[in-house]
Amino acid sequence: MHERKTVLEGLVDDGGISVGHNNEVRLEMLALPENVGLARVSIAAFASQIDFSMGEVEEIKVAVSEAVSNAVIHAYPQGGWVKISARLTGRLLEVEVKDTGKGIEDVSQAREPSFSTEPGRMGLGFVFMESFMDGMDIQSIPGRGTTVRMWKECRPVEGSND
């Protein structure tokens, strides 16, 4: 299902620096629903600099979307700023999504599938972040804000597609 996209198509390949490299980008945006897509697209473009498969880039998009949506919905009922930073170190992508909003009282409860403090929401945000990335770490202080850190490694392609 995850076709690698940087197999030398024809002769020369493109944009993706397959060997892994170091890079960093920071993004600050108003916590608005219409900015969730912007965050997703930007981090996907960043991740595409190394040879993540198309399926993996889709997974990264979901994870980023969940983290930023949470900041919009839960952290800032009155609005605020979300900071996203992303780093590539060799073949490792790290993404941090940070707000200075409401914070989470009980982080381990929040991570449970189906747990949500908001009626009508699915309680799957953290589940998706964990499933679609290699790992996730949540730092939160009630009244001070939340920082979600996630990472995913870009594994070398073995033979055909995985």
């Binding site: 629903p33 969730v36 399926g55 889709e58 979901v62 979307s65 699915m122 945000g125 998706f128």
Partner: protein, 115 residues
């Protein structure tokens, strides 16, 4: 996100295009509920073939429609989700409660509507 609907053999077929996320979930909800209420038809088929992105906010909107339709003794099915949308449906467990078909024809077949 763009939405379209058509009545086919007594079913409301919704065709969704683009991204189903926090920014578009509410418009999806309003559109689907309004069309069903206006046509008094609670047999829904969601064609997701042209959906480019779904996250848990988008899934929440789909599950919300499922609940509302179930209350009205209707049916709902999903058609042609692309691979990355399918993996989100699977991970969420939605696939266990809403049937997924590979084409509108299959979703509309009398055998399917029995389920």
């Amino acid at each position: 996100m763009q939405l379209d609907h058509e009545i086919v053999a007594g079913n409301l077929v919704f065709r969704v295009q683009g991204e189903l996320d926090l920014n578009t979930a509410e418009r999806f909800r309003l559109y689907v509920d309004d069309a069903m209420d206006r046509h008094r038809c609670y047999q829904a088929v969601l064609n997701l073939r042209k959906v480019t992105f779904v996250d848990s906010s988008g899934l929440g909107a789909i599950i919300g429609r499922y609940r509302r339709i179930a209350q009205r003794q209707g049916t709902i099915s999903i058609v042609s989700p692309p691979p990355h949308v399918l993996s989100v449906l699977e991970l969420s467990g939605i696939k266990k409660i809403i049937p997924v078909y590979s084409s509108e024809q299959k979703a509309l077949a009398p055998e399917a509507r029995m389920a």
